[in-house]
Symmetry: C2
Subunit: 481 residues, 2 copies
C-alpha cells in the first residue's frame, strides 16, 4: 500500500482535484467538438492533444494516494467518474474501492465485470476483502473463496461471519507476534529479518508457543528504550486492553478514545490471539457512525451518492417521509375533532402551530441529551429519577417564561384575556408533555434494545404535535366557546 | 501518565462505575442515618464501617485510569461528584480535569481554590495547560505563566494564541527529533539514553542542525527494520504530510483519516518544526465536532452537564427556542392573512400542517446531504448545477407521488375534488420550495463563511412552514372560496 508520507499536504489533494477536473473539462470539450461533427472522428482519435491529455490524466492519477483518488471519484458526476475509473491502473482498483463511500462503490462495481472484480479483490488482505464483500456479486465471492489457500479462506469466512457493528468486523490480521522467553536483541533481529512491519504497528503481541494464547504486549517504545539483553517477559505489559470479536464496535471505539490506543489485540474465549484492531479502523468507524446518526435524524435511510439518479435517491428518502406523512395525518385528525371550535374562533388556527412547534423543539433538546448520555453509558437506575426531576423542572420554568410570552402575544393581537390564558396554559402543558416524552421515548427504545437515535425524534414530534393541538384546542373549546 | 495497558477491558470500566456507585450508596445510607438523628454524629465519625468504606473508595479510585475516573464523575449527580472528587489524589487532579467534559470540568473547577488549581495545572504539559486554560480563573493563569521557565512560558503563550478549531490548538510538543547525518545505530542508542518515548510516537522528526527545519520523518518501523549501519538520511521519508498551526483542525482530521496517520509534524512558515499532532487528539476532535453538530441541530447551544441546575440548563436551551418562537410567530401571521378563507372552509385548518410538515422534512433531507458534501469538500462550481437538477427532480417526483397521496386523502375525507387538487398542488409546490431552499441556505451560509450546520435547519423549517401555509391557503382562497 502506498505510504502516507508520499503526499505533502492536504492542500495537495485539493490541488489534484482541481487539476483532474481541468483535464476532464478539456476532454469534454474535445468530445463535444466530435459530437457536433465539427471535427471528423478519426482525426480526433489520432489527435495528439487528445492523447497527451489522457496520458497527463493517467500520470496524475498514478501519483495520487488511493484515498485522494477516491475523493476525486466521489466528487465527480457519474459519466466522468467512470472515465476516470477506467484510467486507474487495474492493480490499484482494490485499494481505491476500499476508500470510496458505499454509495459510490456501488456505482463503480456495477461497471466492472467478474474478472476485473476478482483481480481487484485478489490484491487485498482478507479483512479488506471482507469489507468489500457486501457489495460484491455472489459468484465473485465464491470464486474468491476458491482461489484462496485454506488458511486465508478460513479467515475470510470467519471475518464475513461477524455482524457489521462488532469488533470482528473492524479487525485485521496484520499482527506481529513474538514469544516472551526471547531477549529484545532477538526480537530486534527478528523484525529486521521480517523486512516490513504492518501499518499502525505500535506494539508486538506476545503469545505463548503451544496454545497461541496472548500473554502480553510489547510496545515498540519499550522495545526501543530497554537494554537489548533483557527478556521480552521482563518488559512487556502483561495486562493489556483486549477486545473480543463479538464486542460492540462502539465499545472498542470508547476504549481507544479513553486509553489513547493505536492498536489493540482481539482474542477468543480461550484468550488465543485472533487479530487486532487499529486506530485508523476506529477513526473510520466513528466517522461513519456519526454520519449515520446525522442522516437518520434527517430522515435518510442511508448515505447517498451525490450524483445518484433521481429515482434511487427518492427511494432512499421515502421511508421516513412516509412515516412523517402518517403522523401528520394523525395530527390533522386531532385538529379535525375541534372543527366546530375553530369555526367559532378562527384565530385558533393561526395560533395552534406555535404550541405544537415549540413543544417539538423543546422535546427534541431533551431527547438529544438523553440519547447522548445513553451512548456514553451515563444513565443508570440510580440517576434516572434525578434526570426526570431536572427535565420536568426546566419544562415548568420554560412553560412559565415562554407561556407568558405567547400568552401576551395572543392577547396583544386579539385583545382577549381568556385567549391569552388558554395559549399560556397550553404552552406550559405541552412543554411538560415534551419533557416527559423526551425522556421516556429514548429510554424505552433503549430498553427494547433498539437504537434510540433512530426514530426517537419522529415519534417525539408526532406526540408533541398531536398533543399540542389537542391540549390547545381542547382548552379553547372548554374556556373560549 | 498512567499506561493504558493497566486496564484489561472496557467491561472493567463499567464494573468500576458499579462498584463506586455501590460504595457511594452505602455512604449515603450512613449519612442519612446521621441526618435522621438515629445515630449520634460522633459515633459515625468514629465508625469503622464508615472509615473502611471511604478507604475502599479511595483505593478503588487510585487504581483507575484517569479517563475512567472522569467517566464516573460525569455519571454522578453534583453532590456525590464532589465527594468523589475530594477523594482523588491531588497529583491526579490535572490529568482527570483534562478528561472530563467541559460542562463537568466547570463544576469541578468551581469547587477548587487557586492553590489547588495551580498545583493541578503544574502536573501538566504546556499543551495540556492550554486546553484547560479557557476554564481557569485569570489569576491562576497569570500565576502559572510566572511559575514556568522562559521556554515553557513562550510555548504556553503561543498555544493559547491559536483559535479553538485550528491545528495549533490540537498540537502538542512531545516530539523526539534527530539529525539526518547519524546512523540508525546512533539513533537507537539515543532513544535508549532518553529512557522514555512520548505516547503515540510512531515516527521521529528529522531536523537540520542550524535552522531547526524539518527535513523528513523517520517512522519507527523503518528504524526497526533497516540495517543499523545506514544513515537516517537514507531511510527517512523526506516528503511527509506536514501541518501548519493556522490550518483548520477539520482539514488535519481529514488528512489523518485519509492517510491513516498516527502523528504528523507541525511546521511554521520557515518549515521549522514547532510541534506535532497525534491521532488521539484528532479522535477527540472528531468526536467533539460530531457531538456539537448533533447538539446544534437539536437547538442546544453547548454540551450540558447531565446534572446541572435547572436554571443553567434552561439558559443553554433558550437561544434556539427563542429563534423558533420568532419563526413560529411569522408562520402564525401568514395563516392569519387567510382568516376569512379558513372561516369559510374549516377543513383547511386541519390539512395545512401536513403541507408544512412534509415540506420541512423533505427540505431537511436535502440540507443534510449538502452540509455533509460541503464538509467533505465534494461541492464545487462544476457540479453545483447538476446537484440542483437532481434535487429539483426528486422534489418533482416526490411532489407527484406524495401530492397524489395527500390529495386523495383530502378527497376521501371531505368528498371535494377541488380540495384534493389544491392539496396536491400545494404539496408539489412546497416540496419544490423545500428542495431549492434546502440547497441555497447551506450553500449561502458556506459562502458567507459560516458553519452551515448551525441554524440551516431552523432557517429552512421557517421557510417551508411559512411558504407551506401561504401556498396552500393562497391556492385555497383562489380556487375554493
Amino acid at each position: 500500500m502506498a505510504e502516507a508520507e508520499e503526499i505533502k499536504t492536504r492542500e495537495g489533494a485539493k490541488q489534484s482535484l482541481r487539476e483532474v477536473t481541468a483535464l476532464l473539462q478539456k476532454q469534454r470539450l474535445i468530445e463535444e467538438l466530435v459530437h457536433k461533427q465539427q471535427m471528423p472522428r478519426h482525426e480526433l482519435v489520432e489527435s495528439l492533444v487528445h492523447k497527451q491529455n489522457l496520458a497527463k490524466l493517467r500520470n496524475k492519477l498514478d501519483e495520487l494516494h488511493p484515498a485522494d483518488v477516491a475523493h476525486i471519484l466521489e466528487a465527480l458526476p457519474l459519466g466522468e467518474r467512470l472515465s476516470v475509473w477506467d484510467l486507474v491502473k487495474a492493480e490499484r482498483d482494490g485499494e481505491i474501492l476500499l476508500e470510496v463511500s458505499d454509495a459510490v462503490r456501488e456505482t463503480l462495481i456495477e461497471h466492472m465485470d467478474s474478472e476485473e472484480l476478482l483481480a481487484a479483490a485478489e490484491t487485498l488482505d482478507t479483512d479488506e476483502i471482507a469489507d468489500l464483500a457486501p457489495d460484491l456479486p455472489r459468484d465473485v465471492i465464491q470464486e474468491l473463496l476458491l482461489s484462496l489457500d485454506v488458511h486465508k479462506r478460513a479467515r475470510l469466512q470467519s471475518a464475513l461471519s461477524y455482524p457489521e457493528d462488532t469488533v470482528g468486523a473492524l479487525m485485521d490480521f496484520d499482527m506481529v507476534t513474538i514469544r516472551s522467553d526471547v531477549t529484545l536483541e532477538v526480537a530486534l533481529r527478528y523484525l529486521r529479518r521480517l523486512g516490513e512491519l504492518p501499518d499502525q504497528t505500535d506494539k508486538l503481541f506476545v503469545v505463548d508457543r503451544e496454545e497461541g494464547a496472548l500473554v502480553g504486549v510489547l510496545p515498540l517504545k519499550r522495545l526501543l528504550i530497554h537494554d537489548p539483553e533483557v527478556h521480552v517477559a521482563a518488559v512487556m505489559a502483561d495486562d493489556p486492553v483486549t477486545l473480543h470479536p463479538g464486542d460492540q464496535a462502539a465499545q472498542a471505539a470508547q476504549a481507544f478514545e479513553r486509553y489513547d490506543l493505536v492498536s489493540a489485540p482481539v482474542v477468543d474465549e480461550g484468550d488465543r490471539l485472533i487479530g487486532r484492531v487499529t486506530v485508523d479502523a476506529v477513526l473510520d468507524f466513528i466517522r461513519e457512525e456519526s454520519d449515520t446518526d446525522l442522516l437518520n435524524l434527517a430522515g435518510l435511510r442511508e448515505e447517498e451518492d451525490l450524483f445518484s439518479t433521481v429515482w434511487k435517491s427518492a427511494k432512499n428518502r421515502w421511508m421516513w417521509l412516509a412515516v412523517n406523512l402518517c403522523t401528520a395525518f394523525i395530527a390533522s385528525r386531532v385538529i379535525d375533532l375541534f372543527e366546530g371550535t375553530i369555526a367559532k374562533l378562527v384565530a385558533l388556527a393561526a395560533l395552534m402551530p406555535i404550541i405544537a412547534g415549540i413543544g417539538g423543539n423543546s422535546g427534541n433538546q431533551t431527547t438529544t441529551l438523553i440519547i447522548r448520555a445513553l451512548a456514553l453509558g451515563q444513565i443508570n437506575v440510580g440517576n434516572a429519577r434525578q434526570l426526570v426531576t431536572k427535565e420536568v423542572g426546566i419544562s415548568l420554568l420554560n412553560g412559565v417564561v415562554w407561556g407568558s410570552a405567547v400568552g401576551l402575544f395572543a392577547y396583544a393581537l386579539y385583545q382577549q384575556v381568556s385567549l391569552g390564558l388558554v395559549m399560556a396554559s397550553a404552552m406550559l402543558l405541552n412543554l411538560l408533555v415534551a419533557a416527559i416524552m423526551g425522556i421516556l421515548i429514548p429510554l424505552g427504545m433503549h430498553k427494547l434494545g433498539r437504537d434510540p437515535a433512530l426514530g426517537s425524534s419522529v415519534l417525539l414530534t408526532a406526540t408533541t404535535d398531536s398533543m399540542g393541538f389537542f391540549i390547545f384546542l381542547g382548552l379553547a373549546k372548554i374556556f373560549l366557546t
